[in-house]
Symmetry: C2
Subunit: 379 residues, 2 copies
């Protein structure tokens, strides 16, 4: 049993100018914190989430079974990121559907659900909104910002947008931008949602329906790309759902893998917002710090001042090790301090959420070193 976590919320009344040119006049962020901020305010670690996660990063909610945070294996008292030593902050991104301002909530100015009218947000916008939260919590400089996948893109962007405010960036299973193939997968997911007749151009709330058919397709597809071919073969292979004879059916379940994917998709479509899915996949597509430098990542990362830990996983074909190595090279070109670990794990992209002893040991050692530096500075 893990410790008890308590969600909080903070309102921001100062308008936020977004990358798109639109303005959010005010907004709320859901967040959680674990551990205690030290007297120097030098032990804060911000965790950035990926596509479908939230501010509930670690711990459990009181009297709710199965409510472990999404990175509970990583974060907690005595864990790799030790909340006895660090003050850890989880935050739900703008545009998401777990309490922070987004498409499924009312616009206070119009009284209507935002729906598709909610503006497009980017990784840079998220980081800007997170920075205000950090300031509001009285923190001038983060000991570390950490994230996997899209969370890793935010960690990287922090070091470029607020280079003086990040001591360490931990960028896991991430990439400096998406490849055409990844954009293509995102586009299939979006088309499945947008062409669902229950989507109503993103204003389905008013019609009291949910585009669950589209969301399910999006989730099934996403799920496949988070796993590796290997782990799917080990876990499911060609096992049949019923006995060992073919039923000869095209519409019913025949293989176990089909049953698993349908079940996961069904659960997901019950709680996840369709407009959020569009927004977050688009934020992934758009992230590309080298874009304003003619594709030169070394030049794009020249602003960074943080020290870096990058981690990738060999069977991750969505955010392949080669993409991490591009970042390592560009950071080293800039003479920044970089530690890089490439872990031979079978779980594909999802490995960053798994309890792999080698992976957790690397994170633990890295934070041990940070904790030691903080300790020395306060003595």
């Amino acid at each position: 049993m893990s410790f008890v976590a308590k969600p909080q919320s903070m309102s921001f009344e100062q308008p936020l100018l977004l990358q798109s040119g639109a303005t959010l006049h005010s907004y709320q962020l859901s967040y959680e914190t674990y551990g205690e901020l030290n007297a120097d305010k030098s032990n804060a670690v911000l965790i950035c989430h990926a596509l479908n996660a939230s501010h509930h990063v670690a711990g459990v909610y009181e009297n709710q079974t199965n409510s472990e945070g999404w990175w509970d294996s990583m974060i907690g008292p005595g864990k790799a990121l030790d909340t006895n030593r660090f003050f850890v902050i989880g935050v739900n991104n703008l545009g998401s559907c777990f309490g922070s301002t987004g498409p499924m909530y009312q616009n206070p100015q119009t009284g209507k659900i935002n729906g598709a009218d909610f503006p497009v947000v980017t990784v840079e916008d998220w980081v800007a909104s997170q920075e205000r939260l950090i300031q509001a919590l009285g923190i001038n400089k983060l000991a570390a910002v950490m994230g996997g996948s899209l969370g890793g893109m935010q960690a990287l962007s922090w070091t470029l947008q607020y280079p003086q405010q990040v001591e360490h960036a931990i960028v896991i299973a991430s990439a400096p931008n998406l490849t055409a193939e990844n954009i293509a997968f995102n586009e299939v997911a979006r088309r499945a949602i947008v062409t669902d007749p229950d989507f109503h151009g993103g204003h389905f709330y008013e019609h009291h329906v949910l585009p669950q058919r589209g969301l399910k397709i999006a989730r099934m597809l996403g799920h496949i790309t988070y796993l590796s071919d290997d782990v799917m073969n080990t876990k499911f292979g060609r096992a049949l759902q019923n006995g060992d004879s073919y039923q000869y059916t095209t519409q019913d379940i025949e293989f176990e893998i089909e049953s698993y994917l349908r079940h996961q998709a069904s659960k997901f479509s019950e709680y996840f917002d369709a407009n959020t899915y569009l927004l977050i996949t688009r934020a992934l597509d758009y992230f590309d710090p080298a874009r304003h430098y003619g594709g030169n990542l070394t030049m794009a990362l020249a602003k960074a001042r943080a020290k870096f830990l990058l981690v990738s996983f060999t069977t991750d074909w969505r955010f392949a090790p080669s993409r991490s190595r591009e970042m390592v090279k560009a950071l080293m070109d800039n003479k920044l301090l970089v530690t890089y670990a490439e872990i031979d794990a079978p779980h594909g992209h999802d490995a960053f959420l798994m309890e792999d002893a080698r992976y957790l040991a690397i994170i633990r050692n890295y934070f041990d070193r940070i904790a030691q530096t903080i300790q020395e500075a306060s003595e």
Copy 2:
């Protein structure tokens, strides 16, 4: 300009017992032939098609521009498979939508469109129906049977179902069965079709609608998996559709790759039958000759008597070279004559349809050798 091809059709009144236990009381096959059958009837080559292709393998239709057969780069007078020397047969599979008996045609017994009532057909059923066509054309033994992808599965199955009737099998970009990941991709495509409200359980013909939304999603997804990450990066990369500024949109096209996929999907949904898509992806899922041998492929292939050419492509992640190597090993375990070429091509699974000089040279040389043997035997 290629030679002129002419589609033909043959009716079969003898019932065909299918693997599922169902019976097709009678059926029609669309086919084409190119070149001349020699006096010994020893120069016939059967071409088996993959998911969305047809009997129109080579040549063009009279007065129809852009009507090249799908393997026209490979087959024709003086080409790698030379129709001046070989009698080549293309056939549309049962259950498909290009003239052979399938879901979108009337059941002569009931007068109704078959729709979802058309029985599930397998690779083995296709081969059995093809064998009757070959017999009807007066051919006892094929000089070769050749196919790529699902077509390669049919070529392999020919050597197991009719070992005495195949001299050579040419199995390109294929596999001895699908992995869990491949089944999973097929399942996403099927769910997109089946959950389209216009699908009506597969009886959409009666409702005068087509489940085009689902078909488009299926096609977009399929298309991604036929290409390699590399070729998509080279061809599209992160190029934007309009200028070089982001439009900040989640529902409209932003990247070129999105425009390309939507266009391909739209074309496909105009002509391809949704029930056929379900049937053919299921035939892919079901193919697994080792299934009745506890997964032992060597035992499963012991019946084969043909000589084999296998070809795979390095960037094909859907039917990876490792899957071809499994077949090569099992065939060699059985002391069969096997030639194997692994071609370092960038085009992913689609490479088997491309004009790659090395690839075409291998096929040409192999057929030259066959032609020489035929020549010697007739002297």
